[in-house]
Amino acid sequence: MSAPTTELTGRTADELARLLSAGEVAAADVTRAYLDRIAAEDGDLGAYLHVDPEAAQAQAAEVDSARAAGTGLGPLAGVPVALKDVVVTEGVPTTSGSRILEGWRPPYDATVAARLKAARTVLLGKTNMDEFAMGSSTENSAYRPTRNPWDPARIPGGSSGGSSAAVAGGLAPWAIGTDTGGSIRQPAALTGLVGHKPTYGSVSRYGLIAFSSSLDQAGPMARTVLDAAVLHEAIGGYDPCDSTSIDAPLPVLAESARRGATGDLSGVRIGVVRELGGEGHAEGYEPGVLARVAEAVALLEGLGAEVREVSCPAFDLALAAYYLIAPSEASSNLARFDGVRYGLRVGDDGERDLDEVMALTRERGFGPEVKRRIVLGTYALSSGYYEAYYGQAQKVRTLISHDFAEAFGSSAAGGPAGGGRDADGGTGGVDVLVSPTTPTVAFPLGARVDDPIAMYAADLCTLPASLAGVPAISVPCGLSDGLPVGLQIMAPALADDRCYRVAAALEAAQDDARGARFLDQLAARTGAEAR
């Protein structure tokens, strides 16, 4: 009864879940199909840092025997998943892409990992990432670079580039990424995936190795909008272990995706952000990217949406504010890596004193980008500079929240009260804001490693939603020079459902026009090359 391997790894996660639930395929076969692909492809692709085939097969076999025994199983039982290596997994190596955590096997599970375990998904492995999620190309991984399945000479985005490459390359049906300034959306855009950064506080951060606590959010990376919504529902919702977790039910996400896929957006008001690639703000944006985005917006208008341009002036300040806030918090979050309790310890020879051992450990254990940000953050928080840098950046953050609030026509800025309206309701603002997800398509490996400012510019469009804590999704909207382009859709806090609805409408319309799913273009291309 087992289906051919290629067919299984070509399925969406939602399709796999249905086949598994119906008993039409065995979890062991699905898992083996993916493990085979990982074994064959990942040597070149570099998507994974850790894969334990025996453990994955054992989990799959358990699901199969539970199903055979008639045990009630959840809808995702037996569906494989990959986790970004920033997610702490009990007994499974977790490095956050850093040498300083090499060999560390955590004694506990992140809430996200625990929820996926409880849903009986099968953990394929831990995916590569920029060290401590600091980067936009995954080239800052201490272990290996990851390649873009669309063009192995190009980067897969970052910092969740291992997850994006794994899903786009058919080495996982879907994956968990984390997003601090765009680390889910940007790699999703550059590899032709759907990636969603949830409302801050709606997915637990417990067990995510912190980069910037006030910005970090875990979220889904998937081949379709529906898959992303389903995975989001599996990991989201209140967690008492995270103080910043919002004690409110998740909006209905998968259902919103299905509703959006029917293609009717009448009454939905869409704002195109001028400051993100619009008139007078197009410098640094590739024409091909802007063209695809414009076409997508036109398509949405054709589905009944009202489209208008919206100005958010404070967005121009997002990059500067982000590169003060994130490094400041990181400089503190990364202080615990001192070689005393776990992970790497360098120079403890009985001669050197404690300070020397700590310094040597951090010198050897951290890569250059991490050090750069620790130094930057330490400086920004120093007495005498705090107000000018960190304090000022927080003010900019408030201004950005105000711009969102004004655009959405809500009085409250950012917080939970800011959202909650149905996409059909509203008070004069727009329901969602759209922009390119990234200014450019995937750039070649090595192109920006020596130019941090150019690298930081990759996050230009994704930073405002991060700083305001509002949800944002990236959905593919075509190719430029044969490489994927993403459209970003931003919504008020707790209105993640709007992102899924609008994204699903766009996806369905494009799939119809194309007669195929977006990623099928990649499969067709690699298939042709193979021939």
Partner: protein, 501 residues
Amino acid sequence: MTTTAGDRLVAYDELLTRYEPVIGLETHVELGTASKMFCGCATTFGAEPNTQTCPVCLGLPGSLPVANAAAIEATVRIGLALGCRIASWCRFARKNYFYPDIPKGFQTSQYDEPLCTAGHLDVEVDGETYRVEIERVHLEEDTGKNLHVGGATGRIHGADHSLVDYNRAGIPLVEIVTRPIPGTGAKAPEVARAYVTELRDILLALGVSEVRMEQGNLRSDVNTSLAPIGDLEWGTRTETKNVNSLRSVERAVRFEMRRQAAVLDAGRRVLQETRHFHEDTGTTSAGRSKEEATDYRYFPEPDLVPISPDPEWVEKLAAALPELPAARRARLRQEWGLSPTEMSWIANAGALGLVDETVAAGATPGDARKWWLGELARRANDAGVELAGLAISPRQVAELTRLVAEGTVNDQLARQALDGVLAGEGDPAQVVQARGLAVMGESDELVAAVEAAIAGAPDVVEKVRGGKVQALGALVGAVMKATRGKADAATVRRMLEQRVL
């Protein structure tokens, strides 16, 4: 541990003729909550090292804090008891520095937004009241404990290696900071001690901490500065860290005053620095210099949501505060009819609660006070323990006073009964019974002893009958001697008078 070379000291009385002190105290109190500040770990004292830990208090990557509501409530109650303003909105902050006993590389504390501000505490020394202004009361987490192995000092310098116990890491810690306290003059050491004593009693009354100073539940950093009398500016202060007994607080201030006076006399300047206090010698020695102090890079803790106490809840807590020590003292003083000075003796001896409970168990205030400040204080002093550490309960003391009042024992016998109680022989009545300590009534034995005394001293009898009544004392003494003190002297005298006169 020796003091720094060149620590000359000026005699205390002499320095007071030239200098005026300003003191200040920062007191850390470990709260007695069942679980830690930011995780569910137990807080039991003395557990095996590193058995009361979890990913959160070990600061493992990915772990996150959740604030302990009971600790926040306790801090608000402390603030209310000290007359503080309770913030309507405040945040935790990260205090960043590297040390192995802080597992996260920062301590979660409060910085410019403390939970409680602007309170005060009145303390009394020798009948005079000193108002201590409280600048702030904030909540933070305790650090782990370092154990430096090898080396002579037990400090990290010179140690072979160090061990860290994280059981204490994350225990809720309240820091109570005074404003500088000027104007205490010669009484500065005693005011410092009285302040910590009063604070301890308040914490006990609130039930928020066990305040076992010997377990480090309460530790004070004592700031001391000296300036020439009449100077408008205060002197440079030193901060003597982790002084953990009431007596040491007093000694630390006194020592620093004497040391700083010598420094100033020599025309040198006092260094702004932290100093360590040495219990054995009563001296301080230089620690880290503040002038090369770490920049803690405080910023609001992004992993915790702000605290915004509901004003109605705060009002309820204020209304439900227990009777505080000062009010209690005033009430008891009235009830017991004591002078302020008499009352302060009781308070300073740490006997207030004991006397109160003894009175509640049936003793008169006078008897209770006499026993606790007299015989029992002596016993405690001899044994080197606090009054409360004696193996006798207020109820047993009350029973002892009753036995005396009823005439069952006299004072001397009562002291013997006390020996028995302290030796664990049971309640006073049991001891009196078992040891046969009861005063003799007009028993046959006593009649025999009286008659024997009369028969044995006809010359004395003659004198008495001749009008020298005071000679009867010799006969009383003889009877008391014969009965080994068990007879009641007044009874014996009456019996003798009946027979001789």
